[in-house]
């Protein structure tokens, strides 16, 4: 079966999921992102790689942060940006996803950044767009959030360059998390030897170990000697329901406090995709503490998204240091 993300020459055509991408493509994105990190620090924060191109943010699910970072990334590449928040537009009038996409293509959008509440939505759209259109998955249901997975790994690599020697723990609602799935695929593909998931049974998918992770239900055990702690957001609807009794109990057993963090390596770093539920999955003292790299994640997120768009549009390579 043809990999829908790659064209017939093996180049990236869409970014739909980390799963299915070979290691060299992941590294290509990470290395390209490296060269974009400096752009944000310049006075004129622009490179012309996507000048004349139209990037359309097609968000069927509400998001401010992800949409904003994609907007900033596209604008830094000099692209024209449209942001469509579909919940307020034609979708609510009953327009199908494909009709919305087709209309935007008719308006000459070149690239779609798509977020949708259903798993597989990005694949679905990618299957229907003409060859010259690129699709970036900004999150589809529980399935995948590839740019998040990539920016997380990029961040880790910044602080812990030797990925082949790391122990990483992912804590929280893995069952419902597209971020977790993308993180797991990125880490395992890039050769991180030990990836742990820490969660109660109700928040783990069936056969999760088949993704290449070690399962822990005891957070204290799971955090022992890890180099990287990746916290996941716990959505409000999971609490007070049939999955978890309460936010309080969750915080007690699976919340990241300074005390629990001390079980990890002394120089361990803490990541969180945001937005944070302070006092639920993470204590403020940790979120704001010295080991937190949560804000750098956001900064690197822009570089990663610039890299992905640049590679898809065909202007990849690290040779844009000077042209602003």
């Amino acid at each position: 079966m043809n990999n829908p993300q790659l064209d017939k020459d093996g180049r990236l055509r869409h970014l739909l999921s980390i799963e299915g991408l070979p290691k060299n493509i992941l590294n290509q994105i990470l290395d390209t992102a490296e060269s974009f990190v400096g752009v944000a620090e310049r006075e004129v924060k622009k490179v012309p790689l996507l000048r004349g191109k139209t990037v359309c943010n097609l968000f069927f699910e509400n998001s401010t942060r992800t949409r904003t970072t994609f907007e900033i990334a596209a604008k830094r590449l000099s692209a024209d940006v449209i942001s469509l928040n579909v919940s307020t537009s034609s979708q609510s009038k009953g327009e199908t996803i494909l009709d919305t996409v087709d209309n935007l293509i008719a308006m000459h959008a070149d690239m779609f950044v798509v977020r949708h509440s259903q798993s597989g939505a990005a694949h679905f759209i990618a299957k229907h767009v003409p060859d010259h259109i690129h699709v970036i998955n900004a999150g589809d249901g529980r399935h995948s959030h590839p740019t998040q997975g990539l920016l997380d790994v990029f961040t880790i690599r910044k602080y812990k360059p030797d990925l082949h020697n790391l122990r990483v723990a992912i804590v929280g609602d893995v069952l419902h998390s597209r971020v977790a799935r993308s993180e797991i695929h990125a880490l395992t593909t890039l050769g991180v030897p030990e990836v742990r998931v820490i969660a109660p049974k109700t928040l783990l998918p069936a056969h999760v170990e088949k993704l290449g992770v070690q399962v822990f239900h005891d957070m204290k055990e799971g955090l022992k000697d890890v180099d990287v702690v990746m916290m996941l957001r716990l959505q409000n609807e999971r609490m007070n329901g049939a999955m978890l009794p309460s936010a309080q109990e969750y915080f007690k057993t699976y919340g990241l406090t300074q005390e629990k963090l001390s079980l990890a390596k002394p120089d361990a770093i803490v990541l969180h995709p945001g937005p944070m539920n302070r006092g639920v999955e993470i204590d403020s003292s940790v979120a704001d503490g010295a080991q937190s790299v949560i804000l750098p994640q956001v900064t690197y997120g822009i570089a990663i998204r610039m890299a992905v768009m640049a590679i898809l549009a065909g202007g990849q390579g690290s040779s844009h240091g000077g042209q602003a």
Binding site: T96, S119, A121, G141, R142, H143, S144, A206, K210
Partner: protein
């Protein structure tokens, strides 16, 4: 109309026939097999050289979409599809709009179908009013109107007291219940098998236990009430084991499997192929193997198409939002032959699973080539390949998980009541 079918290999499982025989038809019935009856002069000769002549297929579950969902498919298109697939008798589930819980509706459906002179339609009546699982339907009246059994389609009866009473009532009159085993709370919002693939793809899963738990209730109540129950669309290894056990205990249980589940697993979802969004979901390899073994050892009695045509737009959505079901009437024979070939099962056995076994479950006179029976016949070329694609299907439902494949087994001629209703 006197018809002579010559040179064909006749396979009639009920009468244990698998040999080269000529078939003679007169006045819509099978007059003789083998030697030409004295004084017989054919009006029409069908040369079935290199072809197989078998009873017209009997399909246990075909959604005709009438009444109510005519934009998806119509009686005429689907009955044409039926005979194109060699299916001459079929049962349709009651989940129409309106639901088949009124004798008048059943009569009308039967009447309209009869007028088309294509395949015979045997409706399954709703077991409860509006399929709501609360009040029993008028099973006696529905039987009179032509229902051969009673079903809840894919909607579970949650209230075990109602299920018990429904079985008791049906058992009083010897009616057969057609039940799909799925525990609704565990299956709620699930769209795929709760296993490795659903976990990877981030799809909400339906655990195997949803089938086995529901099956446990159904079998236990069947045991208490003595009801005749047919389990529709088994999908798990556990389910097969439970039915095997129930049969050993002497319970009046029969079961079927859909042709899709004999060939596909959760892995066929691949990159979210909406044509694989089915109910019950496609499960794991070990489940597929158990279903096959169950068919071979008689635990599962029949293969059906589970024909569920949807209009094209309905599958053009992300997986979970795509409408459930696959088109299947025209693939039933092909897929049965493929299964037989892969599992090294004789044609006699395999064809039995789509003819006399199904007929017996429905309690109808069909599915065999006995002398004096209606001449409902399927003539096919087991070696002719055809490509499964929208253009090749007469059904308005083009939604097939087998799209693009070339498979062997092409129906050449179909007769119903001694009339040619399809020829290729």
């Amino acid at each position: 109309m006197k018809i002579h079918i010559k040179n064909g290999r006749v396979i009639d499982p009920k009468n244990n026939i698998d040999s080269k025989l000529d078939v003679y038809i007169a006045a819509g019935k099978i007059l003789a097999l083998g030697d030409c009856p004295e004084g017989f002069v054919a009006n029409q000769i069908i040369d079935a050289s290199n072809q197989i002549v078998c009873p017209g297929l009997v399909d246990l579950s075909v959604r005709l979409r009438e009444p109510g969902d005519e934009y998806k498919a119509t009686l005429i298109s689907e009955l044409q599809a039926a005979v194109a697939g060699g299916v001459t008798s079929l049962a349709c589930p009651p989940d129409t709009d309106p639901v088949l819980d009124e004798p008048g509706l059943v009569e009308m459906l039967k009447h309209r179908a009869k007028q088309l002179n294509l395949a015979h339609v045997y409706p399954l009546g709703a077991l409860t009013r509006q399929l709501q699982g609360k009040v029993l339907s008028e099973m006696g009246e529905l039987r009179e109107a032509g229902c051969v059994g009673f079903s809840q389609a894919n909607i579970a009866i949650v209230d075990t007291q109602v299920l018990w009473r429904a079985m008791e009532y049906a058992a009083t009159f010897g009616f057969t219940l057609f039940l799909h085993a799925e525990e609704p709370f565990l299956a709620k919002d699930g769209v795929a098998h709760d296993g490795e693939v659903a976990s990877r793809l981030g799809l909400k899963g339906i655990p195997s236990a949803a089938e086995s738990l529901a099956l446990a209730s159904i079998l236990r109540i069947a045991k208490e009430t003595g009801a005749k129950v047919h389990i529709s669309r088994l999908s798990t290894a556990e389910g097969v084991a439970m039915v095997r056990d129930a049969k050993k205990q002497g319970l009046k249980i029969t079961s079927d499997v859909s042709a899709n589940h004999l060939h596909l697993t959760e892995h066929d979802i691949a990159y979210f192929d909406a044509n694989c969004h089915l109910k019950p979901p496609l499960r794991a390899q070990r489940d597929k193997e158990a279903l096959s073994a169950g068919l071979k050892d008689g635990t599962i009695d029949a293969i059906c198409s589970d024909h569920t045509p949807v209009d094209d737009d309905a599958k053009l959505a992300p997986f979970a939002e795509a409408e459930i079901g696959a088109t299947g009437l025209e693939l039933l024979l092909t897929l049965t032959l493929k299964w037989a070939q892969q599992e090294k099962v004789t044609l006699l056995h395999a064809i039995s699973n789509v003819t006399q076994a199904s007929a017996r479950i429905l309690g109808i006179q069909a599915g065999d080539l006995s002398v004096d029976s209606d001449a409902d016949i399927c003539i096919f070329d087991a070696n002719e390949y055809w490509k499964i694609c929208p253009a090749a299907l007469k059904s308005q439902g083009k939604n097939s998980p087998f799209n693009g494949l070339e498979l062997a087994g092409k129906v050449k001629t179909t007769l119903v009541h001694g009339q040619i209703v399809y020829q290729n």
